[in-house]
């Protein structure tokens, strides 16, 4: 295949716009690859990916899993003799890849248009408000009856419907990622592919183990906090919604309440650390924030806060504040989930373990073993 080289193409400009400003400074020494803790285990070259971008080789980048194997510990950016911030270039490339894996084009709008996401948030929030206002039950002011105000059947159905839609979009996006990076399963026995899936994806999804390789350990803990806080909240409010959204008074000894409190604490602390880090800009990973990073973390924080307030008001038996914060929670949680899960930053939770899996598939195809044996 002939390569068409377009230096400073629209493609590389896009990466620069997505945060990879150091791109043009790189003189291809390979320090980033050599310092990366991941390169001990994976046969990757960040330098090569950066070269692809510099040359405008869009297809090469699209089929490349390397950006996903960067967990952004920031060691490369510290050792870069050109201060080209290779870590941030990889971050920008991941943003770019998210926009490319997404087939709807919504992701592209949010990542490249600074106010695109703001419009989307307000639009979706407004729709959520209208729907929840139209479908709300009678407002009981004598005591807090959240189950009456928000009819469980409707909320449950809506929740599951949204979940199915979002999961389907995300799955399509993951399939597109598979098509780009692996192509097909040709040459790999299906059972082998399945065994590898079971071995890799759940483990890395649940533990995010690769992050532990970064010397900056706190980053991993924060990720785990947010992940488990989020997972708990998901279990409580999607499969167990009928138990959690009821008119029963809120009891602290109830295991569901304890789970709810735990989830809230994990999410708030995790998000607070992220926000603090991004404001301080001291650590390499948080030095540069794209507007989508802020969008994710602020929405997550606000969703958690409104969820917490709803719980508090419900426990204290303040009917009206409970209903208001609940509506507010729905207004925030809808854009958060709809936009983040398949289209924006949240999706890296899915892409990351799958990238490790796809990397393994490619290895199986080439018949090579893990490069750590080298």
């Amino acid at each position: 295949m002939a390569l068409i080289v377009i230096p400073r193409s629209r493609f590389s400009d896009e990466i620069i716009k997505l945060g990879g400003t150091g791109l043009i400074k790189c003189y291809q020494c390979g320090s980033c690859t050599a310092t990366c803790p991941m390169s001990e285990e994976y046969n990757i070259s960040f330098r090569k990916t950066i070269k692809y971008i510099q040359l405008g080789l869009q297809d090469e980048v699209l089929t490349d899993l390397t950006p996903w194997l960067c967990y952004y510990c920031g060691e490369c950016s510290e050792s870069c003799p050109r201060q080209a911030d290779p870590g941030e270039v990889m971050m920008a490339t991941r943003r770019y890849l998210i926009t490319k894996y997404d087939f709807t084009g919504l992701s592209r709008l949010m990542y490249l248009k600074r106010f695109g996401w703001l419009v989307a948030v307000f639009l979706l929030g407004g729709i959520a408000f209208l729907i929840s206002w139209l479908l709300k039950g009678p407002i009981v002011l004598e005591r807090t009856e959240l189950g009456t105000f928000a009819p469980v059947d409707i909320v449950d159905t809506a929740g599951i419907a949204v979940f199915i839609i979002l999961a389907s979009i995300l799955l399509v996006n993951i399939y597109r990622m598979f098509r780009f990076t692996v192509g097909s399963l040709k040459g790999i026995p299906l059972t082998k592919a399945f065994i590898e899936f079971v071995k890799i994806v759940p483990l890395h999804f649940l533990t995010q183990l690769r992050l532990a390789k970064c010397s900056f350990r706190r980053y991993w803990y924060i990720h785990l906090m947010i992940f488990y806080g989020y997972a708990l909240a998901f279990i409580l409010f999607v499969p167990l919604l009928r138990l959690t959204l009821s008119n029963k008074p809120f009891l602290l000894v109830d295991p569901l309440s304890i789970a709810g409190i735990l989830s809230t604490i994990l999410l708030i602390i995790g998000a607070a650390f992220m926000i603090k880090g991004r404001l301080e800009r001291k650590t390499q990973v948080w030095k540069y924030s794209h507007h989508t990073d802020w969008m994710f973390i602020t929405l997550l924080f606000l969703v958690t806060i409104t969820g917490l307030l709803t719980g508090v008001f419900r426990t204290l038996n303040y009917p009206l504040p409970t209903y208001i914060t609940f509506i507010l929670h729905i207004v925030l949680v809808t854009p958060f989930l709809v936009l983040e899960v398949p289209f924006a930053k949240w999706s890296h939770l899915a892409y990351r373990p799958f990238a490790l899996y796809f990397y393994r598939l490619n290895q199986l195809k080439e018949g090579t073993q893990l490069s750590s044996k080298r």
């Binding site: 020494c29 320090s31 690859t33 050599a34 310092t35 050792s79 003799p81």
Partner: protein
């Protein structure tokens, strides 16, 4: 009648400038802070791209400096103050005491043979020791002994010995042994005032301290050297008489690595290119091959800048004729094997795009250069990197921002020996014009048709 010119720095550029001025009948004061002229080039073994012996081409020039009556050498001296303007500079020069009467000293070296005090040898980059009274190096010009007052038992006795001596003068072996009776412990610093027409600055460079780059472990790992240290190591006059042996176990290395751009072309340290290291490393790899025929030599580089005449051919020759290996990729870390003291280098081999780890017996760092400090005492402007700022880097590359002060060699920016020498000649010519006060009558206008313009 011409006025004198002051040349600051007795390296190859300073020597060339002084010689060219002297040839034109201009009186020259050549100032150097060291006891001998020769500068950095005197420390080199061979030169690229011809592999000439550096001493063999430098020493005749150094010696001829002595033959000119109108070159006055001011050794162990430093410029303290410069005032005035082109044609009339007043310079104060601090002449440090040598504690040896150079009019009497014959340079026989008996004193340094007998001196009991061993001191790290700066000329050999502390790879070996010299005595407290010493001749800087065998080919030193002028070949005179000096006493290092800091380390001399008589001049700076250690407190415990001083107490024991109870006021009696200590040691004094050199004073007793000197056949010419040249030792004079009573010398004191002197300030000389000179009136000169022009000044040529050839103050040269020092090496960037590689300890500031902890990843390479220089100073911590014994078998990591700078390129200048390696140059002393291969030199026949060096600490090992030209044998390449490791600091840790005196064994001959079988695998040597050169790491290029250490502290240069790196925005964290110095962003500029030191220009000569590509060729210097190539030369050193060839020298290593000549000294140890079965040695494996690898040069880690980002770009090979073989831009000068014969440079590219030299680089090709290193590869094809001598089998020097070139690997494109920056070494990010050196680890030491604590048992064997071998060095493990981590880098991305960019030709295959993956990370490799390789073990070497010896590592040579091509360390960046830093300009020596000249401001103050000189009233010059410096550029962003600390090199002397040029008036016009294109058409007037030897003039500084001050009229009558010229610059040559690496003080104005990284360059190799031939460029330094040609700059020195150019600067000498400019200085001579001022020193001689020559005014050439100019035609006011030219008409090509013979009529009035």
């Amino acid at each position: 009648m011409s006025k004198p010119v002051l040349v600051i720095g007795g390296g190859i550029a300073g020597i060339q400038a002084a010689l060219d001025l002297a040839e034109q009948g201009v009186e020259v004061y050549l100032v150097d802070k060291n006891p001998s002229i020769g500068g950095r080039m005197a420390q080199l073994d061979k030169t690229f791209p011809t592999l000439d012996c550096a001493s063999c081409i430098l020493t005749p020039k150094m010696a001829s400096v002595l033959r000119y009556k109108n070159i006055k050498l001011l050794m162990c001296s430093e410029v303290q103050e410069v005032k005035g303007s082109a044609g009339n500079f007043t310079c104060k020069i601090l002449k440090n005491p040598t504690y040896v009467d150079w009019d009497k000293c014959t340079g026989c070296g008996t004193c340094s043979d007998k001196c009991p005090q061993k001191v790290p040898d700066e000329f050999n980059l502390n790879l070996t020791t010299r005595k407290a009274i010493y001749i800087m190096f065998p080919q030193a010009v002028p070949r005179k002994a000096v006493i290092d007052a800091m380390h001399c038992l008589r001049l700076n006795p250690p407190p415990d010995l001083k107490e024991k001596a109870k006021g009696r003068p200590l040691c004094g072996v050199c004073e007793r042994i000197c056949p010419a009776k040249a030792i004079d412990f009573t010398q004191i610093p002197k300030v000389i005032e000179l009136n000169v027409a022009a000044i040529i600055v050839t103050t040269g460079i020092e090496l960037y301290d590689p300890r500031k780059i902890p990843e390479y472990g220089y100073g911590k790992f014994q078998n990591v050297y700078t390129h200048l240290e390696f140059e002393r190591l291969v030199s026949a006059t060096g600490p090992t008489n030209g044998h390449i042996i490791r600091r840790s176990d005196n064994k001959t290395p079988k695998k040597i690595a050169w790491i290029q751009c250490v502290g240069s072309r790196d925005v964290r340290f110095n962003h500029y290119c030191s220009t000569f290291c590509c060729m210097a490393a190539t030369k050193q790899a060839i020298l290593a091959k000549e000294h140890i025929p079965d040695v494996e030599t690898t040069i880690f580089y980002m770009d090979i800048r073989a831009f000068g005449k014969g440079f590219h051919e030299f680089y090709k020759r290193a590869m094809d004729e001598f089998g020097v290996k070139y690997v494109r990729g920056k070494v990010v870390k050196i680890n030491e094997d604590p048992k064997t003291k071998n060095l493990i280098l981590t880098y991305e081999d960019t030709s295959v795009s993956y990370v490799k780890k390789d073990v070497f017996d010896m590592v040579v760092l091509s360390v960046a250069i830093r300009p020596n400090r000249v401001v103050p005492p000189l009233p010059l402007e410096l550029d962003d990197d600390g090199f002397i700022k040029l008036k016009d880097p294109f058409l007037d590359p030897v003039s500084t921002t001050v009229d009558g002060i010229f610059v040559a060699g690496v003080a104005a920016g990284a360059k190799d020996i031939p460029d330094s020498v040609s700059e020195a000649s150019a600067a000498a010519m400019r200085a001579a014009l001022i020193a001689k006060g020559i005014e050439v009558p100019l035609m006011t206008a030219i008409s090509f048709r013979g009529g009035k313009p």
